[in-house]
Point group: C2
Chain length 147, copies 2
Amino acid sequence: MDKYEALKLKNQLCFPLYSVSNLITRNYKPLLDKIDLTYTQYITMMVLWERHSVSEKELGEALFLKSNTLTLLLQKLKKKGFVTINKDKRDGRSIIIALTEQGEALKEKAVDVPTSIVKSIHLSEEEGMYLYQILYKILEANQNEEL
Amino acid sequence: MDKYEALKLKNQLCFPLYSVSNLITRNYKPLLDKIDLTYTQYITMMVLWERHSVSEKELGEALFLKSNTLTLLLQKLKKKGFVTINKDKRDGRSIIIALTEQGEALKEKAVDVPTSIVKSIHLSEEEGMYLYQILYKILEANQNEEL
DNA sequence: GCAAAATAAATCGCATGCGATATATTTATG
DNA sequence: CATAAATATATCGCATGCGATTTATTTTGC
């Protein structure tokens, strides 16, 4: 038995996770180009389409990202006219990100994106649901550790 | 029923894939820092530890990456003394990446990395295997499309 | 044999992600 | 109430990933 068996690429679990994630970003790109969003900007808009306005902290918790990634991202969404960024009056440390009319309108254009992507994944509904559960199990287990 | 239901973050399959992938890179970082590798450099070394020398094209096929990502990466591994880069004598378009002694020696230091990571994922063996299968199913389905 | 097509890398510009650190503001504590 | 600790963002530097394009080399087709 090879002492280095665990170091072989084909025995990695994280490598296909990483590759599928890259694959997804690639598949999304041409679709999202049409509505002038990158993938990270797209999931940010998803949060806003649901909640209308959030603090950067809340946004980071929803997306598992921190200010070092978000600050620049939000500036770009602001530049494109999809969001406004204002200080929270009740807490001067926080900023509140809110949808503009243009950002709200973008939702209509984005409505077909999820279906197109799901098709490109080629999984049965059952497989998709199982995958979903496992992934959230990993995310939640790790969230607890970071407390 | 909300017409925008499919646009909610909690209904996305790709989002947890993306988040778990980020999570994994974060978890690997402190471990890989100790052996002076980034995650992408690590999986590149994995290929070399198995095959000893590969062309950039073969490496790209193994890692699902292209020259725009690999070229710079390989230069850095060369700078660190882990690999050599030479033109293929039989085909002047190709380059051959090969392990140095130092690169080979690094394998010994890396041998415990996979176990540490698997622990941080918190999945049963069964879940891990199922996840593995689904991920490769996605990768393979998509590979065929790119032909 | 030679021009055109194909192939393999390299280069460019952009948008992440991340750890580390700095800054501004609020909260806690004595 | 003053000041230390905690919290929320911003900034910096580095290493990706990727589409698009360019360059170098080989293969193909006539």
